[in-house]
């Protein structure tokens, strides 16, 4: 029904975009219906859960043209890498398949077991046990693989994890049941083994789904850096050299629109550069002869001649990448709560079951009965409810957070977010919106329509900011023709035989502004970087949760202090990436668990080193990669919400653990004294799992309450 119509036989390529703004069925219909009307687009398919659009298009059409087309439909879109999580997707699919097989086995074996429990005897019981075995053995062999493989890995490195008691329990229960079946015994535990696998696989699959759906496309850090540069030889001729072969002292020519491949000093030319990659600040920076420019910056307007000072691995960008790498190491030592629990739990279970076996042997019960009891202890204590305790709560919480504009990368991120006690905010792009916004007062509707018609033709940050703002106000572009962009100057066009233009004002000074000319009339449009509207409210909510906030900015002291005063926060300005990292390290040494919220690449090392970190979706790729969570849109509130929901998630997780342990304490004596039949084990297992799932579902309600 949504089948796209192929419009050409030419081979197409696929590009995927993340489109956070999709909210309803109308958005799906709009994108899927309107995009294929664009020349060169073969089809568009929306994945609403992941907020993604996959577009099949002509290779001649580039990502920017597609992003612009989506913007014209009213959706902000960012391209994402082709298949960043192909591997994890496969893992999830394998888990789901194993879950389906285990579910099939569980239902059919249960059907036979119920007949045995309700009184089948003699030849019928033996037949049913044999049938159960025929179904259960392949099912266990297939569905148990994820656990067996992980347990084997752990044992090989002489460690133990949650999967070791599970594997031993399942394998022993299956072996015992098989023995009972062959010798015509009374009890077989096939259904317990399969049911255990089913519930545990459900927990694993939930965990995988959560990681999958929130991990947005992540680009490699260095891919944005210019890959080559035009080197000017002594005779004035130019030749292109790859970034790796550049050397300090070379003179390179950087055309407008090109990104720099190395650090250097400008020898000739004046232009504006986009330093967003390094600072997160999207207002262009004016540079002239003598200014230093860094790799990764994009030259916006006029060609520059740059004498290189640092190349390859010595650039500021490479240095930041190295710092981030090192800072990220400490976080990988974090042990998740489920693993901490199982480290304490697994040895306990094994020794208890071994004790039961020895105790009954000493009491003279015979090895068969002793083994049955030991296995019953293993089965009843198998961490079925424990396996579900953490993933169910985290999946419900992350689902609730996604609906409120926050993507949490994985379960460990939620656990760390719950523990933070101090918050550090970057200024530009984090507390403020980070993109230049025009002040539109004093501009009539006609002027606005002309401004939009001009601005939508340029990729200059001011033009884009202006066009975005005007579109938000519902302005329809005027019919301006012959629009031309003059690099370094501005845009010109004709509107009803009047010359109109949007240009750089002649005398700029400190103020960021554009000049709109309509005939002889002139309008100055000033740009500001406003503070996020709910910043005060968010900070108050963090304070109510016992979290002190402060500003840690790389900006100049004057504007940073001004913002600090307005929001009532202590400020540390002029901080380099290294200094930011040091601030976080010293906080950690003092025993704090800091939360870092930042967007620029200069925040990257701090984001990677903080106990937990959050970045806005406008942040540089590398910062999003380093952060634990990404928030979408213009509100800051998701930051406060993330911490509140993370804390209530941990509360629920602890309740779940409490319940599972209480249940085990109650059930273990029954098993030890030999009262646990397969029927009791099956009932106990499913009831405890259902209680845990029901308890986790309460989170959706409480998260909803926290948001309102």
């Amino acid at each position: 029904m949504n089948a796209p119509v192929e419009i050409s036989d030419r081979p197409t390529v696929g590009t995927r975009f993340t489109v956070p703004g999709m909210r309803c069925a109308g958005c799906i219909a709009k994108i899927e219906r309107e995009l294929p009307r664009l020349e060169g687009v073969a089809s568009a398919r929306v994945n609403f859960s992941a907020k993604r659009v996959a577009i099949e298009h002509d290779p001649a059409l580039d990502q920017e043209a597609l992003a612009d087309a989506l913007l014209k439909l009213g959706f902000e879109a960012q391209p994402i890498a082709q298949n960043p999580m192909g591997l994890e997707e496969r893992e999830r699919r394998e888990l789901m398949r194993a879950l389906g097989v285990a579910g099939f086995g569980m239902m059919n074996v249960m059907l036979l077991s119920v007949s045995v429990w309700s009184g089948a005897s003699g030849a019928t019981r033996e037949l049913f046990h044999w049938l159960s075995a025929i179904i259960a053995l392949p099912v266990i062999a297939y569905s148990g693989r994820p656990f067996f493989a992980s347990a084997w890995m752990a044992l090989k490195f002489r460690r133990t994890n949650m999967d070791v008691p599970i594997s031993i329990g399942v394998i022993l229960a299956t072996a015992l049941s098989l023995y009972e079946t062959v010798t015509g015994g009374e009890h077989a535990y096939f259904e317990s083994a399969v049911m255990l696998l089913f519930f545990l696989l459900a927990g694993r699959a939930l965990d995988a789904i959560m990681r999958d759906r929130t991990r947005a496309g992540i680009g490699a850090l260095l891919s944005r850096m210019g890959k080559s540069a035009a080197v000017i030889g002594p005779d004035g001729s130019t030749r292109r050299l790859p970034a790796g072969e550049l050397e300090p002292g070379m003179l390179v020519l950087v055309a407008a629109g090109e990104s720099l491949a190395a650090d250097g000093e400008i020898e000739r030319g004046a232009s504006a550069i986009d330093n967003a990659m390094l600072t997160g600040e999207s207002a262009p920076e004016r540079v002239t002869e003598g200014s230093f420019v860094h790799a990764g910056a994009i030259n916006l307007s006029a060609p520059l001649r740059v004498r290189l000072t640092h190349t390859a691995d010595d650039t500021a960008l490479a240095e930041i990448a190295r710092l981030m790498d090192e800072a990220g190491q400490s976080r990988s030592h974090y042990v998740r709560i489920a693993d901490r629990a199982s480290r304490a739990y697994a040895p306990l279970v094994h020794s208890l079951s071994a004790l039961a076996f020895m105790g009954w042997m000493l009491a003279g019960a015979g090895w068969h009965q002793s083994l049955v009891i030991a296995i019953a202890v293993l089965i009843i204590t198998c961490p079925c409810a424990m396996g579900l305790a953490v993933p169910t709560a985290q999946v419900v919480a992350s689902g609730a957070l996604i609906r409120r504009g926050l993507l949490v990368k994985d379960g460990s991120a939620l656990e760390r977010l719950a523990e933070v006690d101090i918050a550090l905010f970057d200024k530009t792009g984090t507390l403020t919106l980070g993109s230049p916004r025009p002040v539109l007062e004093g501009l009539g509707d006609a002027e606005r329509a002309i401004a939009l018609a001009l601005a939508q033709n340029s990729r200059h940050p001011f033009s884009r900011g202006l066009a975005d703002e005007l579109r938000r106000e519902g302005i329809v572009a005027a019919d301006v023709v012959d629009v031309m962009e003059t690099s370094g100057e501005g845009l010109h066009g004709m509107f009803r035989r009047t010359r109109v233009s949007l240009v750089r004002p002649p005398d700029e000074g400190e103020q960021l502004a554009s000049l709109l000319r309509v005939g002889d009339e002139q309008h100055l449009i000033v740009f500001t970087d406003p503070v996020r509207a709910d910043a005060c409210e968010t900070l108050a909510r963090l304070a109510a949760g016992g979290i002190d906030a402060s500003i840690l900015s790389g900006d100049r002291a004057a504007p940073a202090n001004k913002l600090g005063e307005a929001l009532g926060l202590p400020v540390r300005a002029d901080a380099s990436p290294q200094q930011k990292l040091e601030v976080l390290e010293s906080l950690k040494r003092e025993g704090h668990r800091p939360l870092m919220v930042g967007d620029g690449l200069n925040d990257g090392p701090a984001l990677a080193s903080a106990h937990a970190s959050i970045a806005p979706s406008s942040a540089s790729d590398a910062s999003q990669q380093a952060a634990d969570a990404v928030f979408i849109g213009e509100k800051l509130m998701p930051v406060a919400l993330a911490i509140e929901v993370a804390r209530s998630t941990m509360r629920i997780v602890r309740q779940n653990f409490g319940f599972s342990i209480a249940y085990n304490i109650a059930a273990v004596p029954l098993a030890l004294f030999g009262f646990v039949t397969p029927l009791i084990a099956a009932i106990a297992m499913s009831v405890s799992s259902l209680v845990v799932v029901a308890n986790s579902l309460r989170l959706a309600r409480s998260a909803g309450k926290a948001a309102s």
Partner: protein
């Protein structure tokens, strides 16, 4: 007792059919976008050519 000879294979066959249907549905991507599927039912398709 002879009833079992029919009933058990039938039960197993039905279960296997259910499993096959689930695996097929997953392979063809029907579980990839649950929320989208819930929303698509609201899309009017009268305007389609």
């Amino acid at each position: 007792m002879t009833g079992l000879a029919f009933l058990i294979p039938i039960a197993l066959l039905m279960g296997a059919c259910g499993l096959a249907a689930f695996l097929w549905a997953m392979k063809s991507g029907q579980y990839d976008d649950m929320e989208g599927a819930a929303n698509r039912i609201l899309i009017d398709e009268d305007e389609e050519p």
